[in-house]
Every structure is written in structure tokens, then in C-alpha cells.
């Protein structure tokens, strides 16, 4: 038998391990210090809210994406899905408004309900294709990525689907209004992040998601309903995409074939920068939120300063993604 050492002291290197986990936080803090030094406008409350509001879309999707990635899956379709939900939502709301049966507020409420329904159905379909259909998540969602965007382009006839002006006035505050000085999208982002954290860390469902990502066979033998849990992760992501879309539509009031382009990559990058392994098994929502904020702070700083061209935004983001991944390497 192994001798049991007398102490339960933490193994050496523990604090260093901790530090590696803090990689994205360190990167975010450094960026913020740099931003504040380069332009005094950066460190203002208004700018902070501006950054967070812009982060909300990707951030909310990334929270849902965390569940999918932790369970060992991936969803490439979220950008197209957001575009299609936006388009379908606007078409429906315009149709209801033209019919005149409902008031503007009820119409917007119906649109929101429909968007959530669409998100849940799209996500559910992904889940069923992947579990029942035994199609690799990468392939299944690559397929729907094309389908969603093509259907939207068809609906928009290659142009834009625009929300009725009256509805725009009713719906606009959902994006532009603030509560206690904080814009509504930021509140919703916070709410989704908190809910995601609680679900992932404090519920049986969340624990099962991690168990499946860690080793699907073991989970299956441990009486976990693997297929059901997987479907639920995609459904949850679909709902997150719908929530992001609901916040996005009042901003521009239209959906075009370029709506939500590359959102999937930004969301996946936020998750990975946040410390979740693409192999699945473990991950943290807090990390994802920090990852999402980190990526949009980069764009914000480039906008506020003139040292590096805004056109190089994606390049700087890429450098930061690689740098953070470098800090986190070998944690497994």
C-alpha cells in the first residue's frame, strides 16, 4: 500500500497553476491599463458601457457555446442562425403589424417569443442530428451554417429585411435604454452569465455536461442520459443565440446576408481564450465572459487610438488569442 504522507499540503506549483488560469484576466487588465494610458477616454464609464453593450451579443452566444464545447461538441452555425432568426423575426413582426390584430408592444413580444422558439428548435435539431443521426457536430453545424444563411438571403431576396418604423420605435429601447445607468443588453448579458455559471457548476445537468466531455463512455456507463444532455446543450445554445438576436435586431432594425458573419468564430475564440479546452471536459463561464470582453476591448482600443489601424483589429485579436493560449498551454 502507498504510504500516506502526514501533510495534506497543496502540491508544489499550485500557485503557478492558479496563475495560468488567470491568464485571460491578466491579459485583460494589461490591455485596460494600456488603453487608459493611450487615451483618457478609454477609462470612462460611458466607454465601459459601450464596450460591454457591444460584447453582449457575442458574450451571450459564447456562454451557450461554453456548454457545447465543454460537452465535447462544437456549433459553427451560430452566426448564420442569428441572421436567420433576425430575418424571420422581422418578417413575422412586420406581418403581424400589417394585419393590425395586435398592438406594437404585443407584436414585439410575439416576435421575441418566436425568436426564442426558433432558437430552441434550431438548437434541438442540431442536437438530434448529432446524437440520433450520429453526425459529427462539426459537419452537422457546417451544413446548417450554409442552410441558415442561404434561407435568410432568399427571404431578403439578396437585400435587407427591415423592421417596420413604428415597431422600431417600440422595440428600440430594448437595445438603447438603460436601467440604473446600465444598458439593458449589459443587464441581460450579466443575467445569462450568472445563470450559465449556476447551471454549469451547481446543477446535475452541468455536472453531466462536464462528465460527458471528460469521457463519454464513462458517462454512458454511469447511467447518464448522454444523448439527452447533448441535445439540451445545443438547445441551450440555440436559446442563447435567440437572446443575442433579440438584443441585436433593435440596434439596426434589419437583417442582411452579412448579419452575424464570423460570430461563430468570435464566440468560439471567447470560449477558448477563457480557458475552456476545445477537447471538452472542463470550462468556466467566468472565463468565457472575460474572453469575450477581452476580444472586444481590443477593437475598442484600436478605435480610440491611432497607433494601429482599425483594419488590423482581427490581426491584433489573433495575436492575443495565440498569446493567451500560449499562457494556458500544458495545463492538462
Amino acid at each position: 500500500m502507498q504510504p500516506t504522507p502526514a501533510t495534506n499540503a497543496a502540491p508544489a506549483g499550485f500557485s503557478f497553476e492558479r496563475l495560468k488560469g488567470l491568464g485571460p484576466v491578466v491579459a485583460l487588465v494589461l490591455l485596460c491599463i494600456a488603453g487608459a494610458m493611450l487615451n483618457p477616454d478609454f477609462a470612462t464609464f460611458d466607454n465601459l458601457m459601450n464596450v460591454l453593450t457591444r460584447t453582449a451579443f457575442i458574450g451571450i452566444i459564447a456562454v451557450g457555446m461554453t456548454f457545447v464545447i465543454v460537452s465535447g461538441g462544437i456549433d459553427l452555425s451560430v452566426g448564420s442562425m442569428a441572421a436567420l432568426i433576425a430575418g424571420a423575426m422581422i418578417v413575422m413582426m412586420n406581418a403581424i403589424a400589417t394585419g393590425g390584430a395586435l398592438g406594437p408592444v404585443a407584436t414585439v413580444a410575439a416576435g421575441i417569443a418566436l425568436a426564442l422558439l426558433f432558437g430552441a428548435v434550431f438548437g434541438g435539431v442540431h442536437g438530434v442530428l448529432i446524437t440520433r443521426g450520429r453526425i459529427e457536430p462539426f459537419i452537422a453545424t457546417l451544413g446548417t451554417l450554409g442552410i441558415f444563411r442561404a434561407v435568410l438571403t432568399y427571404l431578403a431576396d439578396g437585400g435587407a429585411i427591415t423592421l417596420d418604423m413604428n415597431l422600431s420605435d417600440t422595440y428600440g429601447p430594448v437595445y438603447y435604454q438603460s436601467v440604473i445607468g446600465v444598458p439593458i443588453p449589459v443587464w441581460i448579458f450579466l443575467l445569462v452569465a450568472v445563470a450559465g455559471t449556476v447551471i454549469l457548476n451547481r446543477t446535475a445537468f452541468g455536472q453531466h455536461v462536464q462528465a460527458i466531455g471528460s469521457n463519454e463512455q464513462v458517462a454512458r456507463y454511469a447511467a447518464i442520459r448522454v444523448d439527452r444532455i447533448k441535445v439540451l446543450t445545443y438547445l441551450l445554445l440555440g436559446i442563447c443565440v435567440a437572446i443575442a438576436t433579440i438584443l441585436y435586431v433593435p440596434r439596426l432594425g434589419s437583417a442582411t446576408p452579412t448579419t452575424g458573419i464570423l460570430w461563430e468564430l468570435e464566440a468560439i475564440a471567447a470560449v477558448v481564450v477563457g480557458g475552456t479546452s476545445l477537447k471538452g471536459g472542463s470550462g468556466r463561464i467566468v472565463g468565457t465572459v472575460i474572453g469575450a470582453i477581452l476580444l472586444s476591448v481590443i477593437g475598442n482600443i484600436l478605435n480610440l487610438t491611432s497607433i494601429i489601424s482599425v483594419h488590423l483589429n482581427a490581426a491584433v485579436q489573433g495575436v492575443v488569442i495565440i498569446a493567451v493560449a500560449y499562457l494556458q498551454r500544458g495545463r492538462r
Binding site: M1, P5, N8, G13, T203, S214, R220, Y221, A223
Partner: protein, 496 residues
């Protein structure tokens, strides 16, 4: 051709933990050595140092009198030292030939010389007695065949010193016999063999000398001819192992049948299997590897398709389509594949223990406090030893992982427990604990089913044993007929 090894005060530390405390002994060429020791005694670490997978923190390793510091396994291999891992080091997607020559490919100029590799691989496979096509993919092989491929791979490297870590754990008795014949032949060719096993009968029959390690130190060595199994076990544990098995308590005469299977057919594996197990009974399943024992229970759990068969639990007919429904009816199954199917080795102990009961105990939030209390209780009840209760399951030794897995599958308090190879790769001390646990489970009125390839285990533990051969039930042996000869003759279908 021959190769002598000397360990000179070898020390190995992992961070603050010292696992080898200055090991001294020498091995002469052309002999078969049994290396004895419980899990955690340091055998595997020492062998990894010899084979170049680990570097010693202190001391010297002398090979043929020359001090060697291997930078990696390749350098050790170049001297003819090969380690056959307990856990396979095979690339599942590649063919047998590709695996055997991985990193040592034969070339013709820029291109691979596939023809010469294929014929060399076929020759190695023939040597180990494995009759499969060298172009077969490793993923398509069963566990026993993979083990033989590992051995063939070592042979292809012209090994002069062969280290085998639990090579027979997954082999049937026929394959085991072939392996021992091969070992004898290699020995006659001058190859030194270091043989690690928990099976003392194999040690007794196949080694020239045993070397005993305990707690990271060399304890003693003895000619195998001079000591018996009991003495070996005592040397390993450092105390008297009076009896591995407790006396069996027969189930009460009126004990109800808890689990009944009739006419189970699993396409390709099992035909028309029927049996019943009573409350308080330990019911064994014997047979060769591939006889369909594991597959039968995977089908009962709904993990494999079954084409016919009825299952009754506690006298009620039940329809089980997945492990969850089985658990709800009070039936759990612990797989033989601990790391692949039994435990989440990357997750913590509490997470593993409560994995199957999370939903039952969540209200709706996880009951983390309750989980911690359950872990403390399980650690005490099952005698799990670890450095830190917050560690990941992978850092436990094999025996302790198995105890944790048992605790996990008993955590839902099932009426019927199926344990598939419950003591595979587990040391003597842990084995005895697990046997005592199985007796306790039966005494509590559960029905316990033990699938095992160790005949002694089936005989010492079970009230009755069903023997399968080629997916068919050959016999159900009761107490009076439970002997090694009976078990083997039914398992190999050579009874007249």
C-alpha cells in the same frame, strides 16, 4: 546477446514525494525474474527508469557494467531493453504492421518498404501465436490480441531484456499458456525477462527468482523454487495474509430470486442465456476472453442490442433500455475497463462518487456538502487511500481507483450489483478488501454477480458459477463442483 543490469542506490522523487528510496539489486542475464510488490511499491517506476521512460533523481543504472543515463525510451531500446506496458501504447487507427514498426519503419530510399515490414510483422505475430492478418487495424482487435501485439512489437525490436507489466491481466488461460511457452523460448535464447504480476500462481510456475519491493525499497530476493505462494504474499504485504477469502455464508433457504434473465440473445455474442440469482448470493461468471460474459451484461444494461430475452428484477419483469433505467430498477454494472468506462479519471473523487446520484440528490442545486460527506464516508467504508481528497481520480493507485469505482456503483444502493473483473490490476491488500466487500454486499441481502478470469477468485468467492463458452451457457457449477478442473473444462468445452 545477453544483458546484465545493476541498480545502484536508485532514488526517484516526484516533486516532494519520494517513491524510490535507494534501490539496490542486480539481475543476471538469461533468467526470468518475478518482480513482486503491491501497487505503489515502486515496481513500475523502477521499470520505467530501466526502460528510459523516467530518469532517476539519484543513483546509477549499470547495463553490462556501463553506467547509462537514458534520455528516452529509444536509447534504452537501442541497447535491447523493451517495456511492455500494462496500458497499451498502440495507435488504434493504424494496422498491426504499422504499430509494430512505428518509429522504426523500414525504408527503401525515400519510401516505406511495406513488403519487408509486413513479412517481418507476420513472423513476429506467429512467434507470439496470434493468428490475425498483420494488416488488421488495432482498433478492431480485442484486448487480449492487443496485448499480444504489444509483445510482438517488443520482439521486433530484438529485445535482450524484456519487461512485462501484468501481461496476462487480459489474456485467457489458453493465451496465457502460449505466452509462458514463448517466455521459456526467449529465455533459452538468452533473453532476460522481468515479469510483473499480481498472480502469484503464475509467478510460482514461470520465474526463476523473485525480487520483492515494498514502499519504494528492495526488500529481499529468493529462488522461486525455495518459496511458496503464501510466502510470496507475506513478503509483498510485509505481514501475514492469513486468508484471502472469508468463509462463504450461504444465502438463506427462503431467499427470494432478485435477478432473473431468460433466453437472452445478443447477436454475434450470446445465445439463449438464462440464469437467476438470489438475494444474498454471489453468482460468478467464468469463461475465456471473448466468451460473451461482458457483452451479455452490456446487453442487459441496454448498451448493446439484444434480439431476445426477458429480465426480471425483484420478481417483476422490467424493460431496460439504458443504464439509467437499470439503475432505477436497482441494477448497476461496474465495467472491467476502469479507465475507459468506469471512472472519470480527470475529475475529482467527489464528482466520481456522486456521478450516478446527482439528479436524485439535487434540489435543484447540487448537494456539494452532502457529496463531501458521502466521500468522507466512502473513504472510510471502502478504505480508499489518497494524498489529498481534492485530487483527481487519476492520481490514485490502481487498487484505490477500483475501490472508488466500487463506491460509485454502490452509491445508488442497488439490489443487484454486477462486478466485471473487480480485482483486475489490483494488489493483494486491495484484493482482500474487495473480497470482504463482496461478502458484505451479499450478507446485506443483495445479489452480487462477479465476472472474473481468475479461477481462484471464482472458487473462493462465489456460491455458484455459470461458465460460458462461445456465447453459450455450458454449466452452472454449484459449491460441490466448483474446482479449477471443472471450470477449465467447461470454459474450453473440452469436457467428455
Amino acid at each position: 546477446m545477453t544483458l546484465a543490469v545493476r541498480f545502484n542506490h536508485i532514488v526517484k522523487e516526484f516533486g516532494p514525494v519520494r517513491v524510490l528510496h535507494g534501490v539496490d539489486f542486480a539481475l543476471a542475464p538469461g533468467r526470468v525474474y518475478g518482480l513482486l510488490g503491491e501497487n505503489g511499491a515502486g515496481k513500475s517506476t523502477l521499470m520505467k527508469i530501466l526502460a528510459g521512460y523516467e530518469r532517476p533523481t539519484g543513483g546509477q543504472l549499470l547495463v553490462d557494467g556501463v553506467e547509462r543515463q537514458f534520455a528516452d525510451a529509444r536509447e534504452a531500446e537501442a541497447l535491447g531493453i523493451a517495456l511492455i506496458h500494462q496500458e497499451f501504447n498502440l495507435a488504434e487507427h493504424l494496422t498491426i504492421t504499422q504499430n509494430i514498426f512505428l518509429g522504426h519503419e523500414h525504408r527503401k530510399g525515400w519510401l516505406l518498404d511495406t513488403a519487408s515490414m509486413r513479412s517481418a510483422a507476420a513472423a513476429c505475430l506467429e512467434q507470439v501465436g496470434l493468428a490475425v492478418n498483420p494488416d488488421a487495424r488495432v482498433a478492431d482487435l480485442i484486448v487480449a490480441e492487443k496485448q499480444l501485439v504489444e509483445i510482438a512489437k517488443a520482439l521486433s525490436r530484438k529485445a535482450r531484456l524484456l519487461i512485462m507489466d501484468e501481461p496476462t491481466a487480459s489474456l485467457s488461460s489458453g493465451e496465457t499458456a502460449k505466452l509462458f511457452a514463448l517466455m521459456a523460448r526467449l529465455k533459452s535464447e538468452g533473453v532476460t525477462i522481468i515479469y510483473i504480476s499480481h498472480k502469484l500462481d503464475e509467478m510460482e510456475a514461470n520465474t526463476d527468482e523473485v525480487v520483492v519491493m515494498r514502499d519504494g525499497q528492495f526488500v529481499t530476493r529468493a529462488l522461486t523454487a525455495d518459496i511458496n505462494r503464501q510466502q510470496m504474499a507475506n513478503l509483498m504485504v510485509g505481514r501475514e495474509v492469513s486468508d484471502m477469502f472469508q468463509p462463504k455464508q450461504p444465502p438463506a433457504a427462503a431467499a427470494p430470486v432478485l435477478f432473473k434473465v431468460s433466453g437472452l440473445t445478443v447477436p454475434g455474442w450470446v445465445r439463449d442465456l438464462s440464469f437467476e440469482v438470489r438475494s444474498g448470493e454471489v453468482f460468478g461468471f467464468g469463461g475465456l476472453v471473448g466468451a460473451g460474459r461482458t457483452e451479455a451484461f452490456e446487453a442487459i444494461l441496454g448498451l448493446r442490442a439484444r434480439s431476445a430475452g426477458e429480465i426480471e428484477l425483484g420478481g417483476e419483469r422490467v424493460d431496460i433500455r439504458n443504464p439509467r433505467q437499470a439503475m432505477q430498477h436497482g441494477l448497476t454494472y461496474l465495467s472491467e475497463d476502469r479507465k475507459g468506462k468506469g471512472l472519470h479519471v480527470d475529475l475529482g473523487l467527489r464528482e466520481n462518487l456522486t456521478m450516478m446520484t446527482l439528479e436524485r440528490d439535487a434540489r435543484p442545486w447540487l448537494d456539494i456538502k452532502g457529496g463531501r460527506a458521502a466521500l468522507d464516508k466512502a473513504i472510510a467504508d471502502f478504505g480508499i487511500r489518497m494524498r489529498d481528497p481534492n485530487c483527481a481520480a487519476r492520481s490514485l493507485s490502481g487498487g484505490n481507483q477500483q475501490k472508488l469505482a466500487l463506491a460509485k456503483y454502490l452509491h445508488s444502493n442497488p439490489r443487484v450489483v454486477v462486478l466485471d473483473e473487480p480485482t483486475r490490476g489490483v494488489d493483494v491488500g486491495a484484493k482482500r478488501d474487495i473480497y470482504a466487500l463482496i461478502h458484505r454486499l451479499a450478507a446485506e441481502g443483495r445479489a452480487v454477480i462477479v465476472i472474473s478470469s481468475e479461477l481462484i477468485e471464482l472458487i473462493g468467492l462465489c456460491h455458484r458459477v455459470a461458465v460460458l463458452h462461445g456465447g453459450k451457457l455450458q454449466a452452472v457449477l454449484d459449491q460441490d463442483h466448483l474446482t479449477e478442473e471443472e471450470l477449465i473444462s467447461h470454459a474450453t468445452n473440452t469436457r467428455h
